[in-house]
Amino acid sequence: MALLNRHGANAVIWILLLTAPVWMHWVGGYTELGSRVLVMALAAMALNFLLGFTGVLSFGHAAYFGLGAYGTAMTIKYLVPSTPLAMLVGVVVGTLAAAIIGALIVKLRGVYFAMVTIAFGQVFYFITFRWNNVTGGDDGLTNWYRAPIDLGFTKLDILHNPEIFYYVILFFFAISVALIAMLLRSPFGRTLLAIRENERRARFLGIPIERHIWLSFVISCFFVSIAGTLYALLNNFVDPRALRWDLSGNFVIMAVLGGMRSFWGPLVGAVIFVVLQDYVSSMTENWESFIGLFFVLIVLFFPRGVLGIIRRKATS
């Protein structure tokens, strides 16, 4: 295990991600499955910024994921077929909504916070569900496609070439993850750990708790809306399930499954979740019960998640 220190583990993860389009086929996967893993992993890591490193549970993160997705889809469908602009709109919409709602709920704690995040999430769900002529209602927004990205010197055909699109997603994933890592290692990140560990102590060390939780919530939703924009582009489609509460629950499951105290935990959780979903759902409609069962077993026997098991083995 000595090889798997932090730098070693980071190197292994990045190499695996960079070469995924090559080796995925060897193990029976396909490139789009890799893209889906990256998108879900980014969402789960974004949620975990709040859950694992600030100690605040949100059950409504799909709302900002979905707003990112709808912002992107509607920009391309109704305004301009530009992928970068659509992503920008999606992220701005998602983050702005989080900034406003975050300010309203930041005084709540624990279960109350979680409940109110669900409630606000469902508000957005029902708006997209009901507003047929703009959002496409229950059928979702179809008949739009991600546009090639023009870099000036070359054009990235992300629509027809899944490998190129995978690397575009990996690019955004890498930047987001690097930013998250930087924030967590900063003085600001340590104030969040302080809040997670002991809110009273943190308050009496002069940390304005509400302001920092609000910032953490908004930052977390910023990254989750990036994941949402990529999700819409990946599917060339978005429907109200992209912001429903069960998807929020899935993000939480991914983070807890992989290990919410470890940086890469949510990535591991997302890999397990998405692959299991893909594999089991091809055999039975009841794939969710299998994921549920797996989740229950992990939480019962390994409360620190899959990475928690590995870490304990490594230190003992």
Binding site: L183, S186, N198, L205, G206
Partner: protein, 250 residues
């Protein structure tokens, strides 16, 4: 000018009056002890000074400014730091990280997403200084939750000190400690007071510690001030003996 002036504060919880018209002034560099039987309102009194509770009546003036309505964090920024009766630390972080958080706060880095190399070096140096002062250098990289009660207490005091406070509030720093640990903590507090001229208000049950450390003592009983004076005066007071020492002797 007095550093802290508490003017006739009261606090009730429903019909229970926990603190009744208590006044106290603390001069710069003074070490003041607050004693009294259980339920005398000592901790509530601390909570009023540190902002955890709002007084029902009265005024609190720190360094010439009224701080009665200020939030706890803002009182910390002005220079009031405290510890708790039941140790409040960050158990799953190392001692070093526990100290680093308040050091960065005191240096104004709280919201920064990164630190310059110079700022980082300054923070590390200050953390090491605090580790040495608290006798924690050998345990710096252990999780604080795994340490002995005495070391956790010392960590908590050093965390408060990391804020560079002008007034330090210590709520029963030796509670639950053995003789050796009590001795160590007492020596640490004495050093802070003597060497750094830090103003300290101390709640304490261990009378050896109180009489060894305090410049002046205030006695609370049933939420109200009973007596105030030098250790010698308090030891000689019949009222205090009747209400407090007498009860313990009986």
């Amino acid at each position: 000018m007095s550093l802290l002036r508490v003017e006739s504060v009261s606090r009730n919880f429903g019909s229970l009056i926990a603190v009744r018209e208590v006044s106290m002034t603390v001069e710069p560099g003074e070490l003041r002890a607050v004693i009294g039987p259980n339920g005398a309102g000592k901790t509530t009194f601390f909570n009023l000074i540190s902002g955890m509770l709002q007084p029902s009546a009265g005024r609190i003036v720190f360094d010439g400014e009224d701080i009665t309505g200020l939030l706890p964090a803002r009182r910390v920024w002005r220079g009031i730091a405290r510890t708790f009766q039941i140790t409040e630390i960050f158990p799953e972080l190392t001692v070093r990280e526990n100290l680093r958080i308040p050091v960065e706060g005191a240096a104004g880095h709280r919201l920064q997403p990164w630190l310059s190399r110079d700022a980082d070096a300054a923070v590390r140096a200050r953390v090491n200084e605090l580790l040495d002062m608290g006798g924690l250098a050998a345990k710096a990289d252990r999780l604080v939750g795994e340490l002995s009660h005495g070391d956790q207490r010392a960590t908590e005091i050093m965390m408060a000190l990391a804020l560079k406070p002008r007034l330090l509030l210590l709520d029963e720093p030796t509670a639950g400690m053995g003789d050796q640990e009590t001795y160590d903590i007492t020596r640490l507090i004495r050093r802070l007071h003597r060497d750094q001229r830090l103003s300290i208000v101390l709640i304490e049950h261990d009378m050896r510690v109180v009489f060894h450390l305090a410049d002046r003592i205030m006695v609370l009983a049933e939420g109200a001030p009973l007596e105030e004076g030098t250790p010698a005066e308090i030891a000689a007071s019949e009222r205090v003996q009747a209400a407090y020492l007498g009860k313990a002797a009986a």
